[in-house]
């Protein structure tokens, strides 16, 4: 059956593309290896709609984030949680930035940054500045349901879950993709598999993106009343973030040093734990870490300890559960900590476009290639 586009991956980028193209009257097939959409990176992350605060070492990333922030809030406001105080603080020690620099950075990027007293939230001497900012969190489940509802209105869009491409080959001007019992053809293939991006490249013998892989843990916490409407992010170095997780009423806790459990520098993610995955996961065939029997022991003792060192005692939070996911990071971003969205045409006639982005609100970067 001929399609206009085949999309690999039913995360936000995949479904966004499917909806965009489906609405334009195209026939689209989405192949997702997990049994449902939004089961990996789109769901398992801090759910931060980036306004740019996170990138005091990369103005370009910051300004672009701020720009897309408005648009995302307009288009997907229904899935946001906006009614909380998002506090950014600069650590007094080991930080790559400080209070004065952060103020300067926010002014340059044109984003809100109101001084609040660090002693309101933090133990003495821990932070040299604290700022009230405007930043939101999105709820992946609400967003997912919206996309699924929208997509059912589009007869041209078909989504197949638990379908992993076994084989992809170029036949004349089209890609022929075999996934389980189905074989489909289209002149345009969108690789929106995030951490699996190089798995697809390897399958086709194409060059890899220069990325490293981090096996990451995010912890969901229950918080007391005092933290309910507060998000805390300590910048910019080996610190932590504790902020509302979408509309769930829970907070997500992550830390720069303890969230990544292990790192792989190979072109396709290669980890010792893959051997314990009972055949589910292998280099070039990345399983969902959150569903894997070989997921690591939680780093909760360390992450909570780090957060408690900074936060005053009255801000209490408790462990609820851990979620794991694989995070690809462009090697070129390490020094400036930028998070550029990479949209690259890997092949022409037939067309293969690969996308890699660490933020949801830069999804609009896809628009240009989708018009082809």
């Amino acid at each position: 059956m001929p399609y206009d586009k085949i999309i690999l991956g039913a995360g936000l980028y995949g479904l966004y593309a499917a909806q965009k193209c489906g609405a334009a009257g195209q026939r689209v097939l989405v192949l997702e290896r997990d049994p449902g959409p939004f089961m990996r990176a789109t769901y398992i992350n801090q759910a931060r709609v980036h306004m740019g605060y996170h990138y005091p070492r990369s103005y370009s990333t910051a300004i672009k984030s701020a720009h897309y922030f408005q648009r995302f809030c307009r288009d997907y406001g229904f899935c946001l949680h906006t009614q909380f105080d998002q506090i950014y603080a600069t650590s007094a020690h080991f930080s790559w930035t400080n209070a004065a620099e952060f103020r300067h950075f926010c002014r340059a990027a044109g984003i809100r940054c109101d001084d609040v007293s660090p002693s309101r939230y933090f133990n003495p001497g821990m932070c040299d500045g604290a700022f009230l900012t405007t930043e939101y969190t999105y709820d992946a489940q609400v967003l997912k349901n919206w996309f699924l509802t929208e997509l059912t209105k589009l007869p041209g869009v078909e989504i197949l879950y638990s379908h992993r491409p076994d084989k992809i080959e170029a036949v004349g001007d089209v890609w022929r993709v075999t996934a389980g019992e189905i074989t489909a053809e289209a002149p345009f293939l969108l690789n929106a598999t995030y951490a699996g991006v190089n798995d697809i490249h390897a399958m086709l013998g194409l060059p890899s993106f220069q990325i490293k892989y981090e096996k990451c843990e995010m912890i969901l916490c229950e918080v007391d009343e005092r933290l309910k409407n507060v998000g805390i992010t300590v910048m910019d170095g080996p610190f932590f973030s504790l902020m509302p997780f979408g509309q769930t009423g829970l907070h997500s806790l992550t830390s720069v040093t303890f969230t990544p459990h292990e790192t792989s520098y190979d072109p396709v993610a290669t980890f010792p734990c893959q051997q314990q995955s009972e055949g589910r996961c292998a280099p070039g065939n990345l399983f969902n870490c959150n569903e894997c029997p070989a997921k690591p022991a939680s780093a909760w003792p360390y992450m909570s300890q780090l957060a408690r060192k900074y936060l005053k005692e009255e801000y209490r939070f408790r462990y609820k559960r851990s979620m794991f996911s694989m995070k690809p990071i462009l090697k070129a971003s390490e020094i400036d900590d930028s998070r550029p969205t990479v949209v690259r045409v890997m092949h022409r006639n037939p067309t293969l476009v690969s996308v890699l982005s660490g933020k949801i609100n830069t999804v609009y970067d896809l628009d240009e290639v989708l018009q082809q």
Partner: protein
């Protein structure tokens, strides 16, 4: 799994400067004790610009360890106090061990004993040798005689401090030129543990540190300047009396000599006081304006 291990999170901060093979051996002994008694702990090594294989051998040892080791690489050699401050800032434990040296002339079990002592309500526990060098003894004698703290400082092998104590000393001053004295002045409860033995010297820079500490944490400086002022005053009074006597005796030409004498002495005294004032001022400048009190090059986390 049910364990009877302690649930509190402890950190061990260790100062390293070209310690060679001794460092790994030290970490091995410390982790043996910590593993036995604690569920959760972390190791923090401060690499004060080591030029030998200390860090490499530590790295390969840590790669096989279940608990994380954080190595702080200092940009350049900065000496014990700034480095340990950096280590303290990096440590996340509720209880933090400060190992100023990788020499271990004591039984490793003392490490846990210090923790048990802390649980009995002490916030700062010093583990001290019974024998110390003459110069240290002199310093502590002068220090203790002039400080207003309820506790006597003495040479120690290592220390255990609670998070509460760390927060307390940071609330009063962000920079700790001399940790031990800051803890003693914190007003929290201190305790000493003793062991039979001797602690080696901690190397260069001690004289400057001793001078800073005396000026900052004791009133020795004030006493000296006050002493000088009193002596000057007495001298001035004697001179005044002498001048009066000469005046009454009717030999006013003699006054010129006296005047010169007073001036010379007066200036000498003023200069002595100025020296001390300058010392205070330089310390104030250091404390207030040197925001970046140490320079860290990079932070590395190693774990199995």
């Amino acid at each position: 799994m049910i364990t009877n291990k302690e649930k509190n999170f402890v950190s061990a901060v260790v100062y390293l400067h070209n310690d060679g093979g001794r460092a790994v051996e030290f970490f091995r002994r410390v982790t043996a004790v910590l593993d036995q008694h604690f569920d959760q702990y972390e190791l923090v090594a401060v690499d004060d610009a080591c030029t030998d294989n200390t860090v490499d051998s530590l790295r390969s040892w840590a790669a096989g360890q279940a608990k994380p080791l954080t190595v702080l690489h200092m940009s350049l050699y900065q000496g014990l106090e700034p480095c340990m401050n950096a280590g303290l800032d990096a440590a996340i434990g509720d209880y933090v061990y400060e190992f100023d040296s990788t020499a271990m002339p004591y039984q490793p079990e003392l490490i846990f004993e210090a923790y048990q002592t802390a649980l009995r309500g002490n916030d700062i526990i010093s583990v001290c040798p019974t024998h110390t060098s003459g110069s240290s003894r002199l310093f502590y004698r002068v220090f203790n005689a002039n400080s207003h703290s309820a506790y006597q400082l003495r040479t120690d092998a290592f220390r255990l401090v609670t998070r509460r104590a760390i927060n307390r000393v940071h609330a009063s001053s962000e920079n700790l030129p001399y940790r031990k004295a800051a803890y003693a002045a914190s007003g929290l409860k201190m305790a000493d543990l003793e062991f039979e033995g001797r602690m080696g010297d901690k190397g260069t820079g001690r004289l400057a540190l001793a001078a800073d500490s005396l000026a900052l944490y004791t009133d020795a400086g004030y006493k000296v300047s006050a002493g000088v002022a009193i002596v000057m005053m007495v001298l001035a009074l004697i001179e005044l009396a002498y001048t009066l006597v000469i005046f009454c005796a009717g030999h006013p030409i003699e006054g010129w000599t006296t005047m010169m004498f007073v001036l010379t002495l007066g200036f000498a005294g003023v200069f002595a006081v100025l020296t001390i004032v300058v010392k205070y001022l330089s310390l104030l400048v250091d404390l207030t304006f040197k925001k970046q009190k140490y320079l860290v090059e990079s932070i590395e986390k190693i774990q199995k």
